[in-house]
Amino acid sequence: MNPSDLIGPSSSLGSPAPYWFLVFFKILGFVLHIIPMSLWYAGIILALLVRWKGGENGRIWSGRLMKQMPLLVALGVNFGIVPLLFTQVSYYQVFYPATILMAWFWLSVILLLTLAYYGVYIYAYGLKEGNSGLTPFRQAAAWIAAIFFIVIGFLFSNAFSLMTNLGGWPALAEKTGEAGAVLGTALNTGDSTLWARWLMMFGLALTTTGAYAYVDAGVFGRKESEKYRLWAGGFALKIYTLGAVWFALFGSWYVFGTWQEEVKATMFAMPLGILTVLTAVSPGLVWFCLWFFRKSVSKRAAFFVALTQLVVLSLNAVSRQIVQNLELGKFLDVTAEPVKMQLSPIVLFLLLFVFGIGVVVWMVRKVIAVETRPAAG
């Protein structure tokens, strides 16, 4: 059977905005999502390990990250909504079938996330009470959270790799079927893309965690001791190195081992070859910044680290989008959907978006004013 037979008709309502507009917000949203996501994906387990074996400074770093974690999860989950919304507008013909095939697993994300999130709170609450606060129960909660987040990451990699693995759908549907319907118990584990991608994304998350350790010490942790900040500079470099090597290793597997010929033919040729190379080598730039500034952790240096890591993540987000479209290209052209522009809602959304940013900036400035006020009050 031809897998494209499994793609349902396109919506008669048409695309509410041009493809480029939707995909711009999808990519923007994903970049915003992946920053905090990386910090809980790789950061929590690292924070627990470092607390256990990382000495006094390690404990400070671990505590700082975990105290911020409730906010990071809240923001990261929210930022995930944007790309998922636009995925469902432009990629619905493949997104719904893929997630329905793995329905129970996909739904379990919600339960796992709720539990993991409470686990984070339980641990962070204990931190407020100093070392005695971290009872075995609170520690166990954090370990469970760390594991659940990694499992959720695995499920996301499943969903997004299954979305383009149409060739695997018929067999999965038969294997997990019940009278022509599906039981929702499939996973994309037969597809090596999944494994390469899951591991690669974890490596990328490690790099972000490393970069963030530096940014945190340089910007938010200015009240910490000089000794700690120096340690953080070195620590950030170590974690980044680990992440970059990991990313390179599994990224190579992903690119050379799992990309189909059509994808290679385009991604290795001009002009997209430039993007592929930049995406691959960009972590080197951040690594260089971290190495160069490792002995003088300052706000300015932190700015450079943050900016370069943002470039890394953006390049990744753009590349993965192009690869996704190429993989789907055989079956479906997502850019070809007729557009029935919803102009006034778009304009209102953009106005509210700008307004929202304005209000957030106003609130954050109030907080900064409090934070930088001399300790007298």
Binding site: G8, N78, I100, G180, V367
Partner: protein
């Protein structure tokens, strides 16, 4: 049909939506009303320089964040997850129609999160004016997000003139919009007070403080109850005819309506004689009773609001069996199996002999051995009936509904379900396909219960 159908034994996949939706609304309304409560009451406490009330409010804010930012937010995402799995065609339609409504909503979610965290974590460090301003930003953002999502959920019950114009605003400001904004806003006030009572009854030991809390939150709760009722009346008045008929016809719904009415009266009376007239009544036991009654009324209301849409998921747009209303004639002409990508693929893989020139030849399906016809009928059942009926056992199981039916009755049900009950979608396939379904239904229909005596000879 455009998508694979997710078979959930016993419950049926769409029931998962109902379950998660109820779990969500019980908190999401508190996320709105509680925000307003915190904004109004912190302003009041600052103004009256009531230090101990401020302390209580701070405690409450923590409870509020733990419940709304985690559980409330994630169950909300959970609804979205389940509708995509259990009702993909309706979700596809809603997202195409309203993606920018959701995008706007998302802006307010971010505002809510940022303001909620600042409101709590910078308590005592921000000056009173800024602190209350942040509280109001939260409350405003939360209420607007309620309005935005209500536009979309109300649309499902009555899309109004959107059906002709396909215009975003026509759909958003549908006939059900204002009534539902009223009742949801009222529900938020009411639920927030019930949560406050529950929390205060356990946490506040000082009886003067408890009285203050009871008294302060009584008026909003009573106002909320009135808004719910007003909205409920508007909801009823602007229901499409089919929904009114469903309300009148279905005994479960009648029971539910009676239950909602009784519970609302009880909650109103308890509020009036309790916190409003006698703040001292606020004990843990009283708060629990009030809370449970309130949640029960709410859940029942939510259930009815959902149930009356049958046979549609989106009125006059998407039918309960995952086909578009406008597709029905096409499906009747071209065949349900042939038009549904996943079913066609299954037939082609399982019975290649039924395929002719790349299409399903339906006459050949009826030449298949009986057990294969039953097998195909079962698939048809999955795709066109399992939205509302479990097959043999479970929620509204079809087999038990047909106990003792004659073959002709079963055939009628399969051919014209909409004539049997207007809240079932019409048969969206060919007569041959309906015959396959009939074969399956016959195979699962149990016999008339044995031993019943109707005056005939023994």
């Amino acid at each position: 049909m455009h998508y694979p159908w997710w078979y959930v034994p016993f419950l049926n996949a769409p029931m998962l939506i109902a379950v998660i939706a109820v779990l969500h609304v019980l908190v999401s309304h508190y996320a709105v009303g509680g925000g307003l409560f915190l904004a109004v009451e912190t302003s009041f406490a600052y103004r009256t320089k009531n230090k101990s009330y401020l302390d209580y409010l701070r405690q409450h804010a923590w409870f509020f964040i733990l419940i709304t930012v985690v559980y409330g937010a994630i169950t909300g995402v959970g609804i979205w997850w389940t509708i995509g799995l259990a009702s993909p065609l309706a979700t596809e339609t809603l997202i195409h129609a309203f993606v920018f409504g959701w995008a706007m909503e998302y802006v307010f979610f971010v505002l809510e999160i940022v303001s909620a965290f600042i409101f709590y974590y910078y308590w005592g460090r921000l000056d009173a004016k800024t602190h209350t301003a942040i509280g109001w930003i939260y409350a405003g953002a939360a209420w607007i997000s309620l309005v935005l999502i209500t536009g979309i959920t109300a649309f499902m019950l009555h899309p109004g003139s959107w059906l002709e114009s396909k215009n975003f605003w026509a759909g958003f400001f549908n006939p059900q919009f204002v009534p539902q904004v009223f009742s949801r806003t009222g529900g938020s006030f009411l639920l927030a007070s019930l949560y406050v009572y529950l929390h205060a009854a356990f946490k506040v030991k000082d009886s003067a403080m408890r009285d203050l809390i009871a008294a302060r939150s009584a008026r909003p709760a009573l106002l909320g109850a009135i808004l719910v009722v007003l909205g409920g009346v508007g909801w009823f008045v602007f229901l499409p005819a089919s929904a009114k008929a469903a309300l009148a016809a279905a005994s479960t719904l009648n029971l539910m309506m009676a239950l909602i009415f009784a519970l609302t009266v009880a909650v109103f009376a308890l509020l009036y004689f309790g916190p409003y007239r006698n703040p001292g009544w606020l004990t843990p036991g009283f708060a629990i009773v009030l809370f449970v009654l309130g949640l029960a009324a709410f859940s029942a209301g939510e259930f009815v609001r959902e149930a009356v849409r049958k046979p549609f998921i989106v009125y006059n747009v998407v039918l309960g069996n995952q086909v578009l209303a406008e597709e029905v004639p096409v499906l009747r002409a071209n065949g349900y199996l042939e038009s549904g990508s996943w079913m066609r693929a299954h037939v082609a893989a399982r019975f290649p002999q039924a395929i002719e020139n790349g299409k399903i030849n339906e006459a050949r399906l009826l030449e298949l051995p009986k057990e294969n016809q039953i097998e195909l009928g079962e698939m048809l059942f999955q795709y066109s009936c399992n939205n509302c009926h479990a097959p043999k056992n479970g929620f509204s199981a079809a087999s038990h509904l047909m106990r003792g039916w004659t073959t002709e009755m079963i055939r009628t049900c399969s051919r014209e379900p909409e004539k049997l009950h207007f809240f079932m979608p019409p048969w969206a396939g060919t007569p041959e396909e309906s015959e396959l379904l009939t074969q399956y239904l016959i195979s699962i229909a149990p016999a008339h219960p044995a031993g019943m005596y109707f005056g005939d000879e023994r």
